[in-house]
């Protein structure tokens, strides 16, 4: 006898989490089945809605103004402006450590490569870094942490035209860390505020760090660090540094492994727990059974095939990065339900010749009807009770648009609500 739920969500990233959360809040009995760690650790932790319109020039100030003009196969066109607003409202409810919900406007945030990018929500730890804030900034990098070169980032920000003075300095992080120490090593040292050796005696890590930075302040009104300021308790780490330095402190979001991304994942999983979602993590869905409707999905647990039955299913397995979309030399496919993925037969038409050109592969994914049900090549619904959400959807180049998080949240919520309604 299979484990029974009303709604089974396949995939544990942003889209899966918001599907499961939305369905559970509608009163459905929900199970979330996920394989690997979500791709949140690879994301910066900024939550974008729409930073650039396809074909548009500069950054979008108000995403909600731009969404109605998107092409009709864009996932935002499917859920509409109201769907995006509803998704972001749910995000704001569960992501208490985020800022930006006081306005529809995007904020410009510094990136670890030194330019700025538009985003809709940012972690509270990054808030003092917004680039439209005119206070002068000092960026501090650590000489062994190669993902953030503060002097380079400061020069780059200046050339990006930010409305404040910015300087960068590279210091040695106190505590004799290995040259290849991971970001979590820095974070844990600051969380624990452990004693570190400083010039023959010892000091606590946060005080030692502040003391190293202090001589470089030179009138700076805020100080930015790479996003390593604490894993378990970043607010306390920030507070200690702010109190010692006398100015606000912020984190500059970085690439993988991203602590802000991991912190968001923690908060989402806490919200899922609270909403009563059952979790099945660590094993892949490898198959499904159907009689016109999907009746169950099959999880491979160390060779044992475990079925999960439900009335409604949500596919939120991610795009090419998360392996929700797979390909070989012959073609592109959705590997679990074999949903139709439109693509050119000639794989040399999948990409553009410029590194940042208009890549078809970036828009690979399943097309859906207005309730997010995947469509086959003939335009008919693949399965009456299967919905799709997040990067597995086609039609959006989230990297160029800066829309990945928003698409996952908005379509995740919409698919979850709609699945819960159908399950009634």
């Amino acid at each position: 006898m299979a484990i029974e739920s009303e709604v089974v969500v396949v995939g544990g990233g942003l889209a899966g989490a918001f599907s499961a959360l939305a369905a559970a809040r509608e009163g459905a009995d929900v199970r979330l089945v996920s394989y690997k760690q979500s791709t949140l650790a690879q994301a910066s932790g900024l939550v974008d809605v729409l930073g650039y319109a396809p074909g548009g020039d500069g950054p979008v100030v108000d995403p909600y103004d731009a969404i109605p003009d998107l092409p009709e196969d864009h996932p935002y066109a499917t859920v509409g402006v109201d769907g995006v607003r509803a998704g972001m409202a749910l995000f704001d409810e569960v992501a208490g450590r985020y800022r930006g919900d006081h306005t529809d406007r995007n904020a410009m945030l510094p990136t670890h490569g030194g330019t700025v990018k538009p985003t809709a929500r940012y972690p509270s730890g990054a808030a003092a870094g917004v680039a439209s804030d005119e206070r002068d900034a000092l960026l501090v990098g650590f000489d062994a942490l190669v993902d953030f070169d503060a002097p380079h980032a400061a020069d780059h920000l200046r050339n990006a035209g930010v409305p404040f003075d910015v300087r960068g300095v590279s210091i040695t992080f106190p505590g004799d860390l290995n040259a290849d120490a991971k970001v979590t090593r820095y974070a844990k040292l600051l969380d624990a505020d452990a004693e570190v050796p400083v010039g023959g005696s010892t000091r606590t890590a946060r005080a030692a760090l502040a003391a190293t930075v202090e001589p470089h302040l030179d009138g700076a009104e805020r100080v930015g660090f790479p996003a390593v300021l604490g894993d378990d308790d970043p607010a306390a780490v920030r507070a200690s540094l702010e109190s010692a330095l006398g100015v606000p402190v912020f984190e500059v979001p970085m690439g993988p492994p991203s602590l802000p991304g991991l912190r968001l994942e923690d908060d989402l999983y806490a919200a899922l727990d609270e909403a009563g979602v059952s979790m099945e993590t660590g094993n892949p869905v490898v198959d499904y059974e159907d009689e016109e409707r999907v009746t169950r999905v099959v999880v491979d647990r160390n060779g044992a095939k475990i079925p999960f039955a439900a009335d409604q299913f949500v596919l939120a397995t991610g795009g090419l990065v998360g392996k929700g979309i797979d390909s070989d030399r012959e073609g592109v496919r959705e590997p679990i339900f074999d949903c139709h993925v439109p693509h050119a037969d000639d794989r040399y038409e999948w990409f553009d010749h410029e590194a940042f050109g208009d890549h078809s592969f970036a828009r690979f994914g399943v097309p859906t009807d207005e309730t997010l049900r995947p469509l086959d090549a003939g335009g008919d619904v693949e399965f009456e009770n299967l919905r799709a959400a997040g990067s597995v959807l086609g039609g959006a180049d989230f990297a160029a648009e800066k829309s990945g998080s928003g698409v996952s949240i908005a379509t995740g919520r919409a698919a979850g609500v709609s699945a819960a309604e159908a399950a009634r």
Binding site: G96, G113, D133, D147, A235, F351
Partner: protein, 579 residues
């Protein structure tokens, strides 16, 4: 002669740098110019095979004999560029037994140590060989890093007083009174190391003799003085796998044909190749069928290749040459031998000599021939020493093991650094301050990158060929911005940004031919990191239009609605922050 003759060498590949080194060691005054980076032409686009001569043992025994001689020389003078992998010529059931026997006899005739091994023995050496491989001939093939070898030759030339100018294109030959007397050169960023954004300039380089070592480009240089140099460029594809499916060079034992070799190279394996004549060495089609053929045909030898991940493909052009009266139709029939063209004797134009044809493994011997010829011409009595004096990096290999411990580099980072640097390890790795890893795929540390920056200016592709940074699985996805950061101490930000963009573009070029399966996933991840996380695709710093920062959220109004949300440290959280 009253003063030291000045020789201008055109071409910064294996032959040109080899000639520059040899002439400089024999006391000549040498200037080498190269239109791109060192190895820009054919040398940087080969499969990395150090020939035992086995491949030519039936069809071209003179070349085969030269290969085994030079194979032994390079193991000695360039040990830090060579990996002694060994090679196998494997026979499948459908391959000719007669040819197998000819190959064996040919190896013996050319002095190439060769031994027959059974199919089972071959599979014991290389477990991924097809189960129906019947038998094989074992030969001393090897793998060689052409980038490292050329950089070492150039470094040695410089040590002996030569001047080496990269990114310096010859625009004309100076001919006076019926004699070549020098070059007109266009420096893309001024003389010295390349720096993006530096204004270039023209330079007239007068020389007592010009050596045209431009390989497939030799005809273009000849044209400048009205000379016909009938180079027949022939393209070949090479497909790079993300891991080494084999640790031995695997050749198909049959008469020469396409897709018949796999060379293990550093962390990768390189599949090759095709042989198709092209009219222009810089402009020819790079086609899907060529990549597909590599995978499908070589899967007959190593079945796992069918499903394996490739990280990129690239094409090179062989500088084939045959005297005009031979008239081969098929480029595979053109000899791999080299020709020294004395334009005085051949065309009545003194002052220049061209070297064409030949192959990478015998580059040093070609250089020796040219240098002998130049010595003859100037009546200089100096012996060639390039077969005996090790290249920089290969001088003393006994100390290597100690270096790894000494520099505190974690194995395998230390092992790989020291393998690349050879006897230069101490000089490069002994730095003050932390030495973190910049490129995780290829285990390249900051010290090695900084050493490369010193000799290659702001050119990150030149850093790449010196260090292998960004040449692994992720193809620069995780390290391109780190490499850019490493330029920060020496160059201003717009220069760094230009170098960074150029690296991203160069890495993309080869990956286009590997975009399916895992590498397409990798490409999407890289695109997301560079575009989503770093916003490098829409970087406001690159845009003519200024961002209206005042139109965006400045943080004020968040939470309490009083001033920037972030004024007050802990209060930033407004008491509701869960962390």
């Amino acid at each position: 002669m009253a003063s030291t003759p000045h020789i201008a060498v055109v071409g910064g590949g294996s032959t040109g740098t080899g000639v520059a080194r040899d002439l400089a060691m024999r006391g000549f005054d040498v200037t080498l110019v190269e239109q791109g980076n060192l190895t820009h032409g054919t040398t940087g686009r080969m499969h990395g095979l150090l020939h035992s001569g086995g491949r030519y043992a039936v069809s071209d025994q003179a070349s085969a004999t030269e290969c085994i001689e030079e194979n032994r020389v390079l193991r000695d003078i360039a040990s830090h560029c060579v990996e002694l992998t060994g090679g196998l010529f494997v026979k499948r059931p459908e391959d000719s037994e007669e040819y197998f026997q000819e190959k064996l006899a040919g190896c013996e005739a050319c002095g190439i140590p060769a031994e027959v091994v059974s199919g089972a023995e071959a599979r014991a050496m290389e477990p991924h060989l097809a189960t129906d491989v019947e038998k094989a001939i074992s030969v001393p093939d090897g793998a060689v890093d052409p980038f490292r070898l050329v950089v070492a030759n150039a470094a040695s030339a410089v040590e002996h007083g030569a001047r080496v100018e990269t990114h310096s294109k010859v625009t004309d030959l100076l001919v006076e009174d019926g004699e070549v007397v020098g070059l007109e050169v266009d420096h893309s960023s001024g003389p010295g190391v390349r720096v993006h954004g530096t204004e270039g300039g023209r330079e007239t380089i007068r020389a007592d003799h010009v050596v045209n070592a431009t390989g497939a480009w030799a005809g273009r240089i000849g044209d400048m003085a009205g000379l016909d140099i009938e180079v027949r460029p022939s393209k070949g594809v090479m497909t790079i796998m993300n891991v080494r499916q084999v640790d031995t060079v695997i050749n198909r034992c049959r008469p020469k044909g396409d897709a018949d070799i796999v060379v293990p190279h550093e962390t990768t394996a390189i599949l090759g190749t095709t042989d198709e004549e092209v009219s222009d060495p810089e402009d020819y089609p790079e086609e899907q069928w060529e990549v597909d053929m590599m995978i499908e045909t070589l899967s007959e030898l190593i079945p796992m290749l069918e499903e394996a991940r490739t990280i990129r493909s690239f094409w090179g052009v062989r500088p084939l040459y045959e005297p005009p009266d031979v008239g081969s139709e098929d480029p595979t029939d053109i000899t791999r031998d080299f020709f020294l063209l004395d334009h005085d004797e051949r065309d009545g134009l003194p002052g220049m000599t061209s070297i064409v044809g030949g192959k990478f493994t015998t580059y040093r011997m070609m250089a020796e021939d040219i240098a002998d010829h130049v010595c003859d011409r100037f009546g200089v009595d100096a012996d060639c020493r390039t077969a005996d004096v090790p290249l920089p990096g290969s001088e003393d290999f006994t100390v290597l093991r100690d270096y790894m411990d000494e520099f505190g580099l974690q194995s395998p980072i230390g092992r790989r650094s020291v393998e690349r640097l050879g006897s230069r390890a101490e000089e490069v790795l002994d730095v003050d301050g932390p030495n973190p890893t910049i490129c995780g795929c290829e285990a390249v540390t900051r010290a090695e990158v900084q050493d490369a920056i010193e000799s290659s200016g702001s050119d990150l592709n030149a850093v790449r060929i010196r260090t292998r940074a960004s040449m692994g699985n992720c193809q620069g996805g995780f390290c391109a911005h780190r490499l850019a950061g490493e330029l920060q101490d020496s160059y201003d930000e717009p220069t760094v940004r230009a170098a960074w963009d150029e690296l991203l573009q160069e890495r993309w070029k080869g990956q286009r031919h590997a975009l399916w399966g895992q590498q397409l996933s990798q490409a999407m991840l890289n695109y997301a990191l560079h575009a989503t996380t770093q916003n490098r695709d829409r970087d406001p710093a690159d845009s003519a239009e200024a961002v209206d920062f005042a139109a965006f959220d400045d943080g004020s109004g968040a939470d309490t609605g009083t001033g920037p949300a972030t004024d007050a440290g802990v209060a930033t959280d407004g008491g509701r922050d869960g962390d």
